[in-house]
C-alpha cells in the first residue's frame, strides 16, 4: 500500500437546499485499499461517493485526487469509474460494446480496444456472451459486465454503489469473494458503499461508518467491532449491550460507575480520560455476559433481569433478557447454561467480569 493518500476529503460539506446531506467530513483514502462506507439510508454515503465521481460538487471543502483539487472537475474528466446499483448498462449496445465504451471515449484505436475489452470479458467468464444484447444475461452476468466496463480502463480507483443489493443471497456471497479477490489481484483502490454491515466487515480493509451526514467511526473491522467509539456504532453493530452510569471514583485502571440499578467496575479507556461525576456509557459484549439464578444486590457488575426470549444461533443460544427500565439485553451462551438453574418466573441476574466491559469514548 502507498503511504501518501490517493484521495483526500478535506472538510467537505454537501447541502441540498436546506438539507445538509454531509456535515463537515475529513478523511483520507489510501491507494490499494478496500474501503467500505457503511450506514443506513439517508446517512450520506451515496452522496459522498457521488462527490468522488464528480456527479455532485461539494458545497464547502475540498476533495483532492492524487493531490489535485477536483471540486470543479466534471465527471468526464475524472478517472473514477463507478459500478451502479442499477448497473446502468447501455441496453442499446451489446456486451462487448458496453465494456469498450470507456476505451472508446479515450480514443483508443478500435482493434486495441476490442482486444482489451474481450480479454476482460474472458476474465469474467463471459466470453460466449460478448456479442449478445445485455437483456439476455442473468443478474450475476450483468454484474460482471458492469465490473468489466469499469475496470477495462485500468483506473486507480473504483467506486461501487451497493452493487450487490439486487442479487439473491447465494449470488451475493459469491460475488463478494469475486470482488475481494479482484481487488487484491489488481491492487487498486475500491470505495464500496453499502448498508450491510456484514458485507462491509467481511470485504473491507477499513470501514467508514456514517450516520446522518457524519462519520461515526473509521477503522479496520476488528478495531470497530472490539472498540466502538460511541453508542451509535455500538448499537449499529447489533450485538452489544450498552449501559450507562455516573463515575463515582477512579482507582487506577478501573472506574466505579453507579446508576440507580447497577454498581459496576469498568476499565478505564485509554482513548478518553473521564473525570469523577461524568456520565459514561459502557458496553458488555453479548458473549461476555453470564446468567446467575439469583440477583445479589450487594455484588458489583450484577444486574437483575427477566428472561423474555431465546433463539438458536448455531451451536449457541441467544437469550433475550429484560433488565430494569425495559432495556433489552442479549446474551450468547452455550446450550447447557440455562437449563435447570433458573426459577420461575425466569427472574435471573446478569453478571460479567469487570475487564470484559468497554467504555465508549464518545
Amino acid at each position: 500500500m502507498q503511504s501518501t493518500p490517493l484521495v483526500e476529503i478535506d472538510k467537505v460539506v454537501k447541502r441540498f437546499g436546506y438539507h445538509t446531506a454531509v456535515h463537515s467530513t475529513t478523511f483520507d483514502i489510501v491507494g490499494g485499499e478496500f474501503l467500505a462506507i457503511m450506514g443506513s439510508s439517508g446517512c450520506g454515503k451515496t452522496t459522498m461517493l457521488r462527490m468522488l465521481a464528480g456527479l455532485e460538487a461539494p458545497t464547502e471543502g475540498e476533495i483532492r485526487i492524487e493531490g489535485l483539487r477536483s471540486n470543479e472537475l466534471p465527471p468526464w474528466q475524472r478517472d473514477t469509474p463507478m459500478v451502479w446499483q442499477s448497473l446502468a448498462l447501455f441496453p442499446f449496445l451489446t456486451v462487448v460494446e458496453n465494456v469498450e465504451f470507456g476505451l472508446r471515449m479515450r480514443k483508443v484505436a478500435p482493434a486495441e480496444r476490442r482486444k482489451r475489452a474481450l480479454s476482460w470479458i474472458d476474465r469474467m467468464d463471459l466470453a460466449e456472451f460478448a456479442g449478445r444484447n445485455i437483456a439476455q444475461l442473468s443478474g450475476g452476468q450483468r454484474q460482471r459486465v458492469a465490473l468489466a466496463r469499469s475496470l477495462v480502463t485500468e483506473p486507480k480507483v473504483l467506486l461501487l454503489d451497493e452493487p450487490l443489493s439486487a442479487l439473491d443471497t447465494n449470488l451475493r456471497v459469491r460475488m463478494q469473494s469475486v470482488l475481494t479477490k479482484l481487488q487484491k489481484e489488481l491492487g487498486i483502490t475500491f470505495v464500496y458503499v453499502t448498508h450491510s454491515q456484514s458485507e462491509a466487515f467481511s470485504m473491507a480493509d477499513r470501514v467508514v461508518i456514517m450516520s446522518r451526514g457524519r462519520i461515526e467511526q473509521i477503522g479496520t473491522p476488528v478495531e470497530i467491532y472490539s472498540t466502538p467509539r460511541n453508542r451509535f456504532v455500538a448499537e449499529f453493530l447489533g450485538s452489544a449491550n450498552v449501559f450507562e452510569g455516573k463515575i463515582e471514583s477512579i482507582q487506577g485502571a478501573l472506574m466505579s460507575v453507579h446508576s440507580p440499578i447497577l454498581r459496576a467496575k469498568v476499565p478505564v479507556n485509554p482513548l478518553r480520560a473521564f473525570g469523577i461525576g461524568d456520565i459514561v456509557s459502557f458496553v458488555v459484549p453479548e458473549d461476555r455476559l453470564r446468567i446467575l439464578p439469583k440477583h445479589d444486590s450487594t455484588a458489583e457488575n450484577c444486574l437483575p433481569a427477566k428472561v423474555i426470549g431465546e433463539e438458536f444461533v448455531g451451536a449457541n443460544m441467544r437469550l433475550y433478557v429484560e433488565a430494569e427500565s425495559q432495556q433489552e439485553v442479549r446474551l450468547l451462551t452455550s446450550h447447557g447454561a440455562r437449563s435447570g438453574s433458573v426459577d420461575v418466573p425466569n427472574r435471573v441476574a446478569l453478571t460479567w467480569n469487570p475487564g470484559d466491559a468497554y467504555v465508549l469514548p464518545d
Binding site: S86, N133, T153
Partner: protein, 266 residues
C-alpha cells in the same frame, strides 16, 4: 363503436380502392372495373412531379422539425422542474387543438412582403425578403402544423430515459454533447422515430401550407387531390392519387417502425 368505425371509417377507405377503378362518363360517376384512372395517373408527368415534390417537402419538413424540436424537448425533459414541465406541456397541447387554418392565415401577417417581419427588416435596413409563395413559407406552415406534436412526442420519450445511463456515460469519460448523441438519443430512439413519422404523415397529407403559404403553383399530392376533386370532379382519379399516398405512407410507416424497434445483438 366497432360498428360505427366499420361502417363509417373502414368502408369508406375500402371504397376508395373500388372507386379507383370506376369511370366518369358525361359528368356522371359509373361503377366499372377499368384501369383507365390508374394508367392516366401513373402515366402523368405532373403526377410524378407532384409525388416527388411531396416526398421532398415532407422529408425536409420532417428533418427540420425533428431537429428544431429536439433542443426544446430536451430542455423541457432535462432542464425544467416538475411544475415548469407540466406548464410547458399544458401550453404545448393548446395549439394542437386550435385551428390550423387560421394559424396559417395569421402567418401571412408576418410573412407577406408588407408584413411584420419585412417591416422590421426595413427598419434594420435589410430590405424586403420574399417569404410567402416560397418553399420557406410552406415550411413555416408545416412547422406550425407539426412542431407542437413533434415536441410533445419527443418529450415523452426523452423524459423516460434512464438518468443513470447518462451519469454512467459521464462517469466513463463521455462529455456532455457526446452523451446526448451516444446515450440519450439511442435510448429514446423509438419515440423520436415515431415523432418523425407523424411529422411525415401530417405534412405529406397537408394541402393548406403549400397552397396558402407556398403559393400553390407548385403542386404537392394533396393539392392535386383537391384540384381533381373540387374542380375536376374526377373522383376516381383522385382516389388513385389518394391510394398511392396511402401505399407510400404505409411503406414509410413500416420501415420507420422496423427501424425504431430493432435491437443490437442476438
Amino acid at each position: 363503436m366497432l360498428l360505427w368505425q366499420l361502417v363509417f371509417f373502414a368502408f369508406p377507405l375500402l371504397f376508395l380502392i373500388a372507386l379507383s377503378f370506376w369511370q366518369v362518363r358525361n359528368f356522371r360517376l359509373e361503377p366499372a372495373l377499368q384501369l383507365g384512372n390508374w394508367s392516366y395517373v401513373l402515366g402523368s408527368e405532373s403526377f410524378w412531379i407532384a409525388y416527388g415534390r411531396s416526398w421532398l417537402y415532407s422529408a425536409s419538413a420532417t428533418v427540420v422539425a425533428s431537429c428544431l424540436a429536439f433542443p426544446c424537448a430536451y430542455g423541457i425533459a432535462f432542464k425544467l422542474g416538475r411544475n415548469a414541465q407540466r406548464f410547458a406541456i399544458f401550453l404545448l397541447v393548446i395549439p394542437f387543438f386550435t385551428s390550423y387554418l387560421v394559424r396559417v392565415y395569421s402567418w401571412q401577417i408576418f410573412l407577406t412582403d408588407a408584413g411584420i417581419i419585412n417591416a422590421l427588416l426595413e427598419q434594420v435596413g435589410v430590405g424586403t425578403v420574399p417569404m410567402i409563395n416560397t418553399f420557406f413559407g410552406t415550411l413555416i406552415g408545416y412547422l406550425t402544423l407539426t412542431l407542437p406534436l413533434v415536441i410533445l412526442l419527443q418529450f415523452f420519450s426523452l423524459v423516460f430515459v434512464d438518468r443513470s445511463l447518462v451519469e454512467a456515460a459521464h462517469n466513463l469519460q463521455c462529455g456532455r454533447m457526446r452523451t446526448v448523441f451516444e446515450v440519450v438519443i439511442p435510448s429514446a430512439r423509438i419515440g423520436l422515430v415515431i415523432a418523425a413519422l407523424f411529422c411525415f404523415i401530417l405534412t405529406f397529407g397537408d394541402f393548406v401550407s403549400p397552397l396558402y403559404l407556398g403559393g400553390g403553383a407548385e403542386a404537392t399530392l394533396p393539392i392535386l387531390i383537391t384540384d381533381t376533386t373540387k374542380s375536376g370532379q374526377q373522383w376516381p382519379r383522385a382516389a388513385t392519387i389518394a391510394l398511392t399516398m396511402i401505399a407510400t405512407l404505409l411503406a414509410v410507416a413500416f420501415a420507420a417502425i422496423a427501424f425504431a424497434y430493432r435491437t443490437r445483438g442476438k
